[in-house]
Symmetry: C2
Amino acid sequence: MPNTAHSTRRGGIQSIDRAARILKTLASGPRRLGVTELAQRLELAVPTVHGLLQTLQAHGFVEQDRDSDKYQLGAGLLQLGNSYLDLNELRGRSIVHAERLAMRADAAVRVGVMHGPSVIVVHHVFRPDATLQILEVGAQLPVHASALGKAILAFSPDEVVDDLTSEDLPRLTGRTLGARELRAEFPGVRERGFARERDEAVLGESSVAGPIFDHLGHAVGAIGVVGDTERLIPRTIAKGLAAAVTEAARGVSRELGARSWPGTPAA
Amino acid sequence: MPNTAHSTRRGGIQSIDRAARILKTLASGPRRLGVTELAQRLELAVPTVHGLLQTLQAHGFVEQDRDSDKYQLGAGLLQLGNSYLDLNELRGRSIVHAERLAMRADAAVRVGVMHGPSVIVVHHVFRPDATLQILEVGAQLPVHASALGKAILAFSPDEVVDDLTSEDLPRLTGRTLGARELRAEFPGVRERGFARERDEAVLGESSVAGPIFDHLGHAVGAIGVVGDTERLIPRTIAKGLAAAVTEAARGVSRELGARSWPGTPAA
DNA sequence: TGCTGTATTCGGCATTGTCGAATGACTTTC
DNA sequence: GAAAGTCATTCGACAATGCCGAATACAGCA
């Protein structure tokens, strides 16, 4: 295993690695990119990138703008992303629990899984009041600055934790934790069975989340609530919220066949 | 241009074609697949498939189940699908119009784009009453049995129409149209500026949709309402609904820079 | 009209992915 | 409890494959 980076790891087959890098580049930029521009960023020859793009286009993974000739992501990716959700067991099992938690906590609920240095939201229930909210399914949250991420990481193997805390963690707000502080939180998270985050990703927004375990006892995801700091924090301290969160996390875990729980030898 | 099929077209670079086929196979099956099973279905050697899967896994496009060793789609696809939505201009421009249409029509609204033989839903607004509904963003609808599909197809080049109506169109209900009937509807759709569908995909469900044009006058998508047949059809006949739909379609088109509209030389 | 920026096509060479065969880890069978 | 069946994974040699330099086509601009 010579390569430890996770963002731009070179897996094996060259052309697929390159295609993946093209897709990720297109996903990150806010605008369409031309062949030449892509070739420069990826340090590849222009015809090489062109060939890759042609193939990706044939499968609907990229689309070429009619008059600028530039490329953007294609609808095929949306279709595949949707299939991922349909087939995802964690998501399926968590829907009922998420709904219940949203009612109990009167707050928005998110379910996430780890993906590289991010948590990807695989399920999202709106805060029960009917105000306009945007759906965050598919969104990526920073592992180190979200309760979901902390809940998973606190129960992950050291290898994973080391990998993620070795890079410099972006400071998103004045309260975002650094690597040391982050690691220092984990024992407490393990003891309590849930993680908190206060204004660490977005000012005025906080979250509480608990880890979800599979039948082998691995932390495969997390479920938790998000909301305005001034609404959420008082209720966390008053304990009712944290209990609801851990109960939901435990419920999903049980459905996945988990038998043990932090502090509890076997459920 | 030797290849005209759209479902399993072989674009160019072999390994990417194969990787795409793996992803589509995993997306279609309801369960995880092992290396051997995949190799059989794709008629490839087992080590070849294994190598492709390893690379896809390194990028988060597939995941391997811990104890069954079988593969499933990965969270990276969800991330990319979400990026597609974020960057999609049609979607961005249609959000406001879709919201307004949902209010006026008191029905669920969908915005879709063509993708092979399907329409992919890129935006979805729930029916205003607060009953539990599932989000259909990313879902694929049959082109020939949805108002969205018909609205786009009626304004598409003959080449595209021929391609899609050449294959046998699946009969989803007793009312699903065949290729001939479908083509016969198009002149009317072009004249009226909107398409209808009644119980042709799902019994008891109908839809009305209008085409969305870009600044070159190409039909790049459609917007429309869906709902229970007995609720929707009377209101379509009473004309109010159709007017609201075409108005929304026209509104989005204008935002995309379209200058003309069926029946109208220039807007 | 020429210039400079694109996207695309072509084709020869060597890198790269492919697949037969072998290995190892498990499960089932008798 | 050995033997025969799964299956995923590793190895390595051959040649098919994708790569990229150079040439082409096409646009917008001076």
